[in-house]
């Protein structure tokens, strides 16, 4: 069996669930917020490294993002990935999921043959869970989303478990295939210090590709290459009216029940 080629998609995200949006552009404001590796993507790297330990594999991590996203790539190398590619170019900025998956897909084509692509299920900032499936479509490979277990890998197939709302589905996929994985799949290891430091050195096996390296024109990628544009972003306003009920506890309770019945929140059955 030839060495398995695994590609892992890793996104750097702001370390907060309360992302602020730029009211003008509708884009995320990333300045001043600490960046981390998207949590599901750590599980994706861990899955790849466990497969490497079990079956032997070469792992390439691929990330699209601003220059500082190099840290996500370095961390993945620290965990055991062999090679890193950062797609970074001002032209990539403002990409929607279509442009993002197209850019990642083209980079994967440039990388050549692969057996398996592993992505996180969802990014905690963009939150769409679309990138994995869209990359699979772009490359025309089989896919399984919400993977919570990897049972077996054979030269031509992989057997995985999928987390569904009301159960677990076991699937056999023909390779090459793409998986998106969920947190329960594994417990990601911490980077090995020696590998982490090596990833920071000049001679580290990390390459940075821009739009031209992928043969893209500016209009193909980023904001310009996106099919969707954010017209406006806003936080839904929840209208809250509060009313204080006066009087004794008994009076207040009676008044409260009356109001609940009035609003038809409960039905009177007596």
């Amino acid at each position: 069996m030839k060495q398995m080629q695994i590609i892992v998609l890793v996104k750097q995200v702001p370390d907060t669930t309360e992302v602020r949006l730029d009211p003008k552009t509708g884009n995320l404001i990333r300045e001043g917020v600490k960046s981390i590796v998207n949590p599901d993507d750590r599980n994706a790297v861990e899955a790849a490294v466990s497969l490497k330990e079990k079956y032997g594999a070469k792992i390439t991590v691929l990330s699209m993002g601003p220059p500082q996203a190099i840290d996500a790539v370095s961390e993945a190398l620290g965990m055991g990935a062999d090679k890193g590619i950062l797609l970074s170019d001002r032209a990539f900025a403002g990409a929607d999921t279509w442009a993002t998956s197209g850019t990642l897909g083209k980079a994967i084509k440039k990388l050549g043959d692969f057996d398996l692509i592993i992505a996180g299920r969802q990014a905690i900032d963009g939150d769409t869970a679309q990138i994995g499936p869209q990359v699979a479509e772009y490359l025309d490979v089989t896919q399984a989303t919400y993977v919570c277990g990897i049972d077996e890998v054979r030269p031509d197939a992989i057997v995985v478990k999928r987390r569904l709302e009301d159960g677990i589905e076991r699937l056999e996929l023909r390779l090459p295939a793409l998986l998106t994985v969920v947190g329960e799949l594994n417990r990601p290891r911490y980077p090995f210090v020696g590998r982490l430091l090596d990833a920071c050195r000049e001679k580290a096996p990390i390459e940075v590709w821009n739009a031209a390296d992928l043969g893209f024109k500016t209009a193909d990628v980023g904001l310009e290459g996106s099919l969707t544009h954010v017209v406006r972003t806003f936080s839904p306003k929840s209208k809250r009216q509060s009313e204080m009920l006066e009087g004794s506890a008994r009076d207040a309770a009676a008044s409260l029940i009356g109001k609940i019945l009035n609003k038809k929140l409960l039905r009177e059955t007596v």
């Binding site: 600490k34 220059p67 190099i70 840290d71 790539v73 370095s74 961390e75 620290g78 950062l86 970074s88 290891r189 911490y190 980077p191 090995f192 210090v193 020696g194 590998r195 982490l196 430091l197 090596d198 990833a199 920071c200 050195r201 000049e202 580290a204 990390i206 940075v208």
Partner: protein
Amino acid sequence: MIRSNAEELLRSNIGRFVDSELIPKAQEIDARGEFPMEMFKKIGDMGVFGIRYPKNKGGSGGNTTLFCIICEEIARGLMSMGAITAMQCLMGTNFLFHYGTDEMRERYFLPAMKGEKVACFCLTEPEAGSDLGNVSTIARKTADGYVINGMKTWVTNGPVADFYTVLCQTDPEKKFRGLNFFFIPRQTPGVSVSKPFDLLGTRTTLISELAFSDVKIPHHHMLGAEGLGMDNLLSILSEIRTMTAALAVGLQRAALEDSIRYAHERAQFGKTIANYQLIQAKIANMAVNLEASRLMTYKAAKMIDNKIQCLKEASMAKYFATEGACKAGDEVTRIFGAYGYSMEYSAQRYYRDNRFLLYGGGTHEILQPNIAKWVGL
């Protein structure tokens, strides 16, 4: 070329480990008062212990600055874990690494790097604390090696260590020139270990006495050229002091962060105590001490990395950062009110654990006259 900054990346990753693995368990580990083997192994698995040693020799290829970052982060979570880590990275393995044979390195150093063997360092004796010239553990040279007799005390990790780096006197006439380090595996006949001491702080760092009675070791177990024991010790003294300063910075950070959080949470007289100027003054002083300690510590660390002589800077950093940690441990227990006196919160631990920093690497009564001398007194 785009590359990650090693110092920042290491800090964020060790910090993440400390936040998610160590801090949630710190109180429990401290209360149990046993050697934290599970945590020790986890830290070993990450390759932390090899931070000062080159990659091609079983290390992780870091330097003193990176070592200090690790010490600071781990001490922020639990001082005793920081102390154990520092022992394993520096004093406990340094002489074995530099002066041991390949066979000794293979059997002891490499497993120690992975957290499979525990190291320790034995200088102090009942009659030789600050005054190391008074070390009286004797290593008598014979035809096939050395015979060692004597007693060591205050040995961090003593009860659990697999091998010892021991300072012995080979010829009392020669005084300092007679002091040499020896490598003694625990299994060697004639070695006995006392029960762990009952300690005020860092309660999970086990400390004991060691007694050597006609312990026979081969010649090549002398670590370093004969007569150079004290010189070799001096060669890592700046690093020991800087590392201790880094541990102190870690404790200050923990105390400050907890203080700020608590000051925002606790309300009295209708306002959170963060509103009171006397609380603000404490927080401000803690923050200023922390900032200054940090600058002094990493200045010394960088000097070591750049091979610049810095015993003065390292001693100043150890002194200042440790005093800062003692003040922080004091203030945090005041800001917490009665809860600072409760074993349920970490504040009490910062108060007890800061004392650990006072003794090793030179007491402040030893450092101060030296600093005075170095600045021209």
